[in-house]
């Protein structure tokens, strides 16, 4: 069968990137779905915050990054961590608090960190990582390094003080940092509109920092990718920070404990019609990519998730000696002589 043209006319993204973005979204979808299954089996410990439905945001921003760019995530950070190339096994292992986990079970699902992949941490105190991302960007600026710091957070985070301090700080110092608000309409269980003075929690605040209001369709990875590219380019060129609000929706509850009864009737179904992976499959076909290629990605990813699951189930618990390790830089915890 003849191959359709890889690039449609006027397309700026291209096949290779699109396939990468597709695979990333499938990785997130499958890994998160597996995480959900595993905690139904009581194999995921503690809490867990899934990004099912929000995959396009993570995929778009990560795919547009260069190696060396830095991600700062929240407790809802599995997606962003996977999107930077961290292995599914390590992520699931951490959720299962096994020794093969990304932090060997010491951090848990809310704190995924992989320095070698540029995932500079997942922070579970709302808003705290926005100033931290500013600091990383300040380092880049000071050292003349060209990496961008990208900071992901939710709509609810726009109402905490640290958000405000970070935005002002980033602008006055013209830092190469990109703030990404994933507006999924809810904080934990409370609709964001009930507790926010403006309609667009991030975009309507941009002007308070002299920034442009940017709203992106968070269900369309291409749109996200383009917005990310523009913001990174601006940051790398010394143009300072951006604040981008992505409209999206989470399919699962806020965390493992949440049955999400607060949803408006029909809301979930309406959003599922614009499922990011569905949208992206159509996009790929539209740009001439074969169904087979797509199916192959799906199969491959599922296989990786299955393998990872087995490895995690077989992995040992972390050893007790980890408890007193790495409090301080000497590797130990001695607060006295």
């Amino acid at each position: 069968m003849a191959r359709k043209p890889a690039r449609a006319p006027n397309d700026d993204i291209g096949e290779e990137t699109r396939l990468k973005m597709y695979r990333t979204q499938v990785v997130i979808r499958e890994a998160e779905q597996r995480a959900f299954d595993l905690f139904l089996q009581n194999l995921v410990k503690g809490t867990s915050h899934l990004s099912l439905g929000q995959e396009a945001v993570a995929a778009g921003f990560a795919t547009a990054m260069n190696p060396g760019d830095l991600s700062f995530c929240t407790y809802r950070g599995h997606a962003h961590t996977l999107a930077r190339g961290v292995s599914i096994e390590k992520v699931l292992g951490e959720l299962m608090q096994r020794d093969n986990g990304l932090m060997r079970g010491k951090g848990g699902s809310m704190h995924l960190t992989s320095e070698e992949h540029g995932v500079m941490g997942s922070y579970a105190i709302i808003g705290a990582h926005l100033p931290i991302a500013c600091g990383a960007a300040w380092r880049a600026q000071y050292k003349g390094q060209k990496d961008v710091s990208v900071c992901f957070f939710g709509d609810g985070t726009t109402n905490i003080g640290a958000f405000h301090e970070a935005l002002n700080f980033a602008v006055i110092w013209k830092l190469p940092v990109v703030f990404v608000c994933e507006n999924n309409l809810y904080m934990e269980y409370t609709p964001i509109e009930d507790v926010t003075a403006v309609q667009h929690p991030a975009a309507d605040r941009a002007g308070a920092y002299g920034l442009e209001a940017v709203i992106v369709d968070g269900q369309d990875a291409d749109e996200v990718y383009r917005a990310a590219q523009a913001a990174y380019a601006k940051a790398r060129a010394g143009g300072g920070p951006s604040l981008i609000e992505c409209k999206t929706y989470r399919y699962s509850g806020h965390s493992r404990a949440d049955p999400a009864k607060y949803r408006k009737p029909g809301e979930l179904d309406k959003w599922k019609e614009r499922d990011p992976i569905k949208i992206y499959r159509e996009r790929l076909l539209q740009f001439g990519i074969e169904q087979e290629t797509i199916d192959k990605i799906d199969t491959e990813v599922r296989q990786v998730v299955d393998d990872a699951t087995e490895k995690c189930k077989a992995a040992p618990q972390p050893p007790f000696e980890l408890i007193t390790r790495d409090v301080y830089a000497d590797g130990g915890w001695a607060w006295r002589n």
């Binding site: 410990k45 010491k106 809310m110 704190h111 579970a124 705290a128 640290a162 007790f320 408890i323 409090v327």
Partner: protein, 326 residues
């Protein structure tokens, strides 16, 4: 008498006080429509309406600041801070504002409010959602600090906290929410600043708080059964005011002191109690006072690691036994 969970006791305590006094209002994140992330406030919105039970944005400073301003001017607010670890983002209100304003104003103003929060470990939530922060609160002059260990104490001490004319930090232990206990019918009002001797004993005094109380009691049983060591167990219940008389009295009888603290070691509440006993009951002591604490490190998330970090029944047994046999 009805059997109630610690979780439902929280709801009952709040409801009891809101029924009694229309000036009692309640605010926090996800507490109204959703009934709280720990389901400790289910039904309160329906019972008391949206003017008295209010969901807030994720703005802990606004929550505690608003509680303070309302308290200063005539309400009796209960504010929920979802996890006690988040006190760190609104610590200024505890450390500098509602704790000090009466003093600063030379007695002109008042701040009768309660900050309820889910404290402590055991849920495998990791370093930022599992801390025991009783010492963060105890060290601030002007606060009162309460931490119940049973459903009945939850109701009674919560009522006492709401009626107290001073700011009270009310530490609920998240690992105790599912425990059950018999709770008397009718209104329950306890007294802040009173410890309780939950088990009498002659060989040693063990002071404990919140989740450490059932563990200390279980350890005392084991110590008795397996080693013939007879421990008195005190549920401290209130760190400020501190019932030093009960503690000193007990040490005067047992001549040995152990503290079982969930907060990490340095500057924990046990250090304060030890320093009081060592000073005022030095000649009563037959051996060193010993602190059994979470080690001075952040909490690991993993269940096996977390369980090995927070004081366990076995650790208490072992430490007391070794110390008394030394």
């Amino acid at each position: 008498m009805a059997e109630l969970t610690y979780r439902d006791a929280v709801t009952r305590g709040i409801a009891q006080e809101m029924k009694r006094d229309p000036d009692v209002v309640f605010l926090g994140e996800d507490i109204a429509a959703a009934g709280g992330v720990f389901k400790t406030t289910v039904g309160l919105l329906e019972e008391f309406g949206p003017l008295r039970v209010r969901d807030t944005p994720i703005s802990e400073q606004a929550i505690l600041g608003a509680a303070m301003g309302a308290a200063m001017t005539g309400l009796k607010p209960i504010a929920e801070i979802m996890f006690s670890d988040f006190i760190a983002v609104c610590f200024n209100y505890l450390a500098n504002e509602f704790s000090k304003h009466r003093y600063i104003s030379n007695g002109q103003t008042k701040c009768p409010l309660v900050v309820r929060t889910a404290n402590g470990g055991g849920a495998r939530f990791g370093a930022q959602h599992s801390q025991s922060v009783e010492n963060w609160c105890m060290m601030i002059p002007g606060l009162k600090v309460v931490a119940p260990s049973s459903p009945t104490d939850v109701v009674g001490l919560l009522a006492a906290s709401v009626r107290d004319p001073d700011p009270v930090i009310f530490l609920e232990h998240k690992s105790l929410y599912p425990i059950k206990g018999e709770v008397p019918d009718g209104e329950i009002v306890d007294t802040i600043g009173t410890a309780k001797i939950l088990r009498s004993g002659r060989d040693a005094t063990i002071t404990a708080l919140a989740l450490m109380v059932p563990r200390a009691l279980e350890a005392a049983e084991k110590l008795k059964e397996e080693h013939g060591i007879d421990c008195e167990v005190i549920d401290v219940r209130s760190l400020v005011p501190l019932d030093t008389q009960t503690i000193l009295g007990s040490v005067g009888r047992t001549h040995r002191l152990f503290t079982v603290e969930e907060n990490p070691r340095l500057c924990g509440w046990g250090a304060e109690i030890v320093s009081i006993v060592a000073d005022e009951a030095f000649y009563d002591l037959d051996g060193p006072p010993v602190r059994i604490t979470t080690p001075h490190l952040p909490l690991p998330a993993s269940d096996v690691l977390e369980d090995a970090t927070i004081p366990s029944v076995d650790r208490i047994v072992d430490r007391v036994k070794r110390s008394l046999n030394a």
